[in-house]
Amino acid sequence: MLQSIPLEYYLIISAVIFIIGSIGVITRRNAIIIFMSIELMLNAVNLTLVSFSSFLGDVSGQIFVFFVMSVAAAEAAIGLAIILALFRSKQTIYVDEVNLLKW
C-alpha cells in the first residue's frame, strides 16, 4: 500500500516541515521555542531518511534515524541545561535580551 504514494510526496512534506522549523528558529525569540523548532527540523530529516530507506529497500537509512533520535535526546539535555544556566544568571530566556557580546 505504501508504494502507491510516490516518493516525492514524502520528500515535499518533509521539506515543508523543515522550512517551518527553520522559519521558527529565525523568527522566534524564546530560547525554548527556538529549540523546539530545531527538533522539528530534525524530525523532518528523519521522515526524509525513512522514506528514502523504504523506497531504496536499504535499511541503513532507518538505522541512521535511530542515531539522529538519540543525538536529539542528548541535544535536549545539553540545551535545557544551558537555558537553565542562562535563566539563573539573567532571569530571562529571550534571546534578544542576551546581547553582551558584540563587536
Binding site: 520528500l11 523543515f18 522549523g21 527553520s22 528558529v25 530560547a31 527556538i34 529549540f35 530545531i38 527540523m41 530534525l42 523532518a44 530529516v45 526524509t48 531518511l49 528514502f52 530507506s53 531504496l56 536499504d58 541503513s60 537509512g61 538505522i63 541512521f64 542515531f67 539522529v68 543525538v71 542528548a74 541535544e75 545539553i78 540545551g79 541545561a81 544551558i82 537555558i83 544556566a85 542562562l86 539563573r88 544568571s89 539573567k90 534571546v95 542576551v98 553582551l100 557580546l101 558584540k102
Partner: protein, 494 residues
C-alpha cells in the same frame, strides 16, 4: 588478534578512556590530581597507539573488517589527525588547570569533556561513512557547547554557550538533511560506495546537488566560514580562553577534515573519460560549480575575517576573527580538490593548531577576571615578562605567515595548490588578505615591544601553562625551518 583491532586502537582507546575518566572523576572525590593525570596519560596513550598505525600501508581489499564493517578508515591521515587532536587535548588540559583555578574553580569534569571532544574529533577523522561522520561531529559539538559555558556564573560565558548551542544545532539540522539527500541520491551511507556510484553514473543528480548544498551549509558553519561565521567571534570571545583555544583550533581542524572526507567522495577528482554521457557531463559541471562556490566562500571568509580583525581593541576577539580568516585559507585546499590541496590542509591545520593554541594560552595567562584582554593591557609586556612577549611575538609572526615560522610553508602549500588547480584569483585575494592581517598581528607585537607603561602588568600564575607554550614553540619553530618531512608525510598519507 586481528589487525583491525590494532589499527582501530586509537578510536577504541579514546572511546573507552573518556568514559573511564568520568568514572575516575566520580570515585576520587576531592583528589583532583588523579583525574588530571589520568586524562593526560590516556590522551598520550591514544597518540602513541595512533603513531603505531601511522606509517602502515593498509590493504584496500582483503582486510578483515568484521567488527567495524566499512564504517571506519584505518591508518594514514586518520592516524595523523589522531595524534594532532590528542596533543591539542593534552595542551588544553595543561593550560586549563591554572586558568580554571584562578578564574572559577577547578572541576574535574572539564578534563572528561575535553576527552569527549577529542573522541568526537577522532571519530570524524576515522569516518568512512556518513553515520560516523555525523556522530563524530555531534559528539565534538556537544562537548564544545558545554566547554564554552563552563564558567556557568559568568554571564558572557553562558551567553556564548547559548549562542553556540542554538546556532550549532540549527546547522546540524542542515548537515543531517544534506546527509539524507545524498543518501537518497546514491542509496548508500558508506563513502567509498557513494564515490563509486557517482563515478559510474548510478545516482540522481538533483538530490545530490541539494544534498551537497545542505551539507556545505552545515560544514561551513562548523568551520566558521563566510555566511555562517557570525557566531564565531561572539562564542570565542565569551568562552573561557582555554576552551576557545581548543575549539578554534582542533575543532576547526576536525571540521576541515570532515570537509575533505565529504569532498573526496562527493566531488570526484577525475570522472572517467571513456563514458562521456550526458550524465557525466552534468556531473563535471556540478563539480566545477561546487568548487567555484567554495572558492567564493573561501575568498570572502578570509577578507571578512581579516578586515573585521583590523578594528578590534580586544586581543581575544582579534584572535577570534583571525581564526575565521584562517578557515578561509584552509578552504583553499578543498577548492584545489586534489592531493596537494588536502596535504596543504593537513600541514596548515597542524601549524595553525600549535600557533593559535599558543597565543590563546598566553591570552589566558594575562587575563584576569574576564579583564585585561585589550591591546592597551599588553603595553610594556617586554619589560616585565620578556619570555612571554617573545613567545607571543613568535606566534603572531607565524600567524601572519612570516618565515621562518610554521605559518609560512603552510600558506605556501595552500596557495600553490590553488594556483595549480587554476584558481589564481583566489590566491591573489589570499595574498592580499594576508597582507591586511600583518597590520594587526604586527600591531600587537609593536604594542608589546615599543610602547612603555609605568605600571606594566604582572603575571602571577603560569605553572603548568608553560608546557603547552613549550610544545607550541617547538612545533612552530620546527615546522617552520624543517617543513620537508611533514610535507612528504602529508602527501603520502592521502
Amino acid at each position: 588478534m586481528s589487525m583491525e583491532i590494532i589499527y582501530g586502537m586509537p578510536l577504541f582507546l579514546i572511546a573507552a578512556l573518556s568514559v573511564i575518566v568520568l568514572l575516575v572523576d566520580a570515585f576520587t572525590g576531592k583528589n583532583k590530581a588523579v583525574a588530571y593525570y589520568f586524562s593526560i596519560i590516556s590522551l598520550l596513550a591514544v597518540a602513541v597507539s595512533a603513531a603505531i598505525s601511522l606509517n602502515t600501508n593498509i590493504p584496500k581489499s582483503g582486510f578483515d573488517t568484521t567488527i567495524t564493517g566499512n564504517n571506519i578508515t584505518f591508518g594514514g591521515y586518520a592516524a595523523f589527525f589522531d595524534i594532532i587532536f590528542s596533543l591539542a587535548g593534552v595542551m588544553t588540559i595543561f593550560a586549563s588547570k591554572p586558568y580554571m583555578k584562578r578564574e572559577f574553580k577547578e572541576y574535574k569534569e572539564y578534563y572528561s569533556l575535553v576527552m569527549f571532544a577529542v573522541a568526537g574529533m577522532i571519530m570524524v577523522s576515522h569516518a568512512n561513512s556518513m553515520l560516523m561522520l555525523f556522530i563524530g561531529i555531534e559528539l565534538m559539538s556537544f562537548s564544545f557547547y558545554v566547554l564554552a559555558g563552563f564558567i556557568r556564573t559568568r554571564i558572557t560565558a553562558v551567553e556564548s554557550s547559548l549562542k553556540y548551542f542554538l546556532l550549532g544545532s540549527f546547522a546540524s539540522g542542515f548537515l543531517v538533511y544534506g546527509i539524507a539527500m545524498i543518501y537518497g541520491a546514491t542509496g548508500s551511507m558508506i563513502l567509498p560506495d557513494i564515490l563509486n556510484k557517482i563515478t559510474t553514473g548510478n545516482f540522481d543528480i538533483t538530490y545530490l546537488k541539494v544534498g551537497f548544498a545542505l551539507m556545505l551549509v552545515g560544514l561551513a558553519f562548523k568551520a566558521a566560514a563566510f555566511p555562517f561565521h557570525q557566531w564565531a567571534p561572539d562564542v570565542y570571545h565569551g568562552a573561557p580562553t582555554v576552551s576557545t583555544g581548543f575549539m578554534s583550533t582542533a575543532g576547526k581542524a576536525a571540521a576541515l577534515i570532515a570537509f575533505v572526507i565529504v569532498a573526496k567522495s562527493v566531488l570526484p577528482v577525475n570522472i572517467s573519460v571513456e563514458s562521456v554521457t550526458s550524465g557525466s557531463l552534468e556531473l563535471s559541471k556540478f563539480t566545477d560549480s561546487a568548487r567555484m562556490v567554495i572558492a567564493v566562500i573561501s575568498a570572502i571568509t578570509m577578507l571578512i575575517g581579516n578586515i573585521s580583525a583590523l578594528v578590534q581593541k580586544n586581543v581575544k576577539r582579534m584572535l577570534a576573527y583571525s581564526s575565521v580568516a584562517h578557515a578561509g585559507y584552509l578552504l583553499m585546499g578543498i577548492v584545489a580538490n586534489n592531493q596537494d590541496g588536502w596535504a596543504g590542509i593537513m600541514f596548515y591545520a597542524t601549524a595553525y593548531l600549535f600557533m593559535q593554541i599558543g597565543s590563546f594560552v598566553i591570552v589566558g595567562i594575562i587575563e584576569q577576571n574576564n579583564e585585561r584582554m585589550n591591546f592597551d593591557d599588553y603595553t610594556g609586556l617586554r619589560k616585565n615578562h620578556p619570555w612571554i612577549a617573545a613567545l607571543m611575538a613568535i606566534f603572531m609572526f607565524s600567524l601572519a605567515g612570516i618565515p621562518p615560522f610554521a605559518g609560512f610553508p603552510g600558506k605556501y602549500m595552500l596557495f600553490v595548490a590553488a594556483v595549480e588547480s587554476g584558481y589564481t584569483w583566489l590566491t591573489i585575494i589570499a595574498v592580499i588578505s594576508s597582507v591586511i592581517s600583518m597590520y594587526f598581528y604586527i600591531g600587537l607585537v609593536l604594542t608589546m615591544y615599543f610602547k612603555d607603561n609605568e605600571n606594566g602588568l604582572i603575571i602571577t600564575d603560569i605553572s603548568s601553562a608553560k608546557i603547552p607554550l613549550a610544545i607550541s614553540f617547538v612545533f612552530v619553530f620546527l615546522l617552520g625551518i624543517l617543513p620537508g618531512s611533514l610535507i612528504d608525510l602529508a602527501k603520502s598519507l592521502f
